[in-house]
Point group: C2
Chain length 195, copies 2
DNA sequence: AGATACATCACGATATATCGCTAGCGGTGG
DNA sequence: CCACCGCTAGCGATATATCGTGATGTATCT
């Protein structure tokens, strides 16, 4: 019996996070960096993140995704569905150029791209900060515990006998119930409000 | 706070599973299906699975991976690293041909491929049966509980306050400890043997 | 028998690309 | 102010491809 559970971590965008960018148009030349303060980030600001990172050094698409994930402490990993089209768009706009190295595509800023990044305000938060600043340490540790439990359960499956698997099932069923009791604790307080 | 944990299920091969294929050579024409009974399957038998599925209908690579996963009840999803090279190999051997449909590559058996599959013994187990037959119901349910817990934890993160996150952490930390106590139960019995 | 050497192949990671869908923004009108 | 609409862009799924590693099988040697 050899099965493994592997967790993948997805971050949805900063729905309620208040670091702002204005609208990104697709018309004409490089966009302006300025925007009214207080506007929301539009999900992940993939474009800004790519430009900032490429200003540091040339990278391929996969490396860019990884770098954003690291910088956001795992809270945000932009999807290929956003990264590659954005890279293509930046290339079309002349801000980025793709160079083939050993069958792989490395992206680097053009002069126009560097000018664009140079216009970025010095004190602008990094595009991934919209994520990391609001990721609570508690939530992070909770998700780590989920991953630890998954690994432990996989180990029980690999190394344990039927009785141990059964015991593990009871432990996890109990934990599952407890989690929903915690969640249920949300709602009686609503009921109390009405009572 | 919007983070999601998503579980991906990986099946390693049937290390101890006793359905047999003989050696697969890379020389010359189509391989024979017969083999000495009792030989082990070599991890997942990707080659056989692909041939059997393509005998049913033409499919692309991704669909083949999905079909194997379904047929094995989720216990085995062969990786792209095995599927695409094997398809290429089968193509080189003239058993399979790739046809482009709308920018996508659909694979279908050639006449030689159909002859090859026709030589397959009628009573041979499906290549994915090596996985499903030995996947215990208990282990399956255990892994489902892990997924349920991950979903519940994500919900706590989304909808709960700091206190609830803390409570959930305690629940999961306790469950984690319990799982390792179950695993530890493996070893004292070994110590008892020596005592 | 066990140990060693070697070859093969699938896993998991790396890497690229596009599609379908809809979240979320900006603009407009009431 | 709010409601609605149109549009863009990112998510998640679909889809393809290859690399590095090591598990596994076979052959040979002791």
């Amino acid at each position: 019996m050899h099965q493994f559970i592997h967790l993948h971590h997805h971050g949805a965008g900063p729905h309620s996070m208040g670091h702002g960018r204005g609208r990104r148009g697709r018309h004409g030349g490089p966009r302006a960096w300025g925007g009214p303060p207080g506007h929301r980030a539009r999900r992940g600001d993939v474009r800004a993140a790519l430009l900032v990172l490429l200003a540091e050094e040339p990278r391929n698409g996969y490396q860019l995704m990884q770098a954003i994930e690291e910088r956001s402490d795992g809270a945000w990993r932009p999807s290929p569905g956003s990264v590659y089209p954005t890279l293509q768009q930046l290339e079309d706009e002349g801000l980025v150029t793709a160079v083939e190295h050993g069958g792989r595509r490395v992206f680097e800023l053009t002069d126009a791209g560097r000018d664009d990044v140079a216009e970025r305000p010095e004190d602008a938060p990094a595009p991934w900060d919209a994520f990391t600043s609001d990721v609570g340490q508690g939530a992070r540790e909770l998700m780590k515990l989920v991953r630890d439990i998954a690994a432990a359960a996989a180990q029980v499956v690999r190394a344990g006998d039927e009785q141990q698997v059964q015991q593990a099932r009871e432990v996890l069923a109990d934990a599952h119930r407890s989690l929903y009791r915690i969640l249920a604790g949300d709602q009686p307080s609503d009921d109390d409000t009405h009572a």
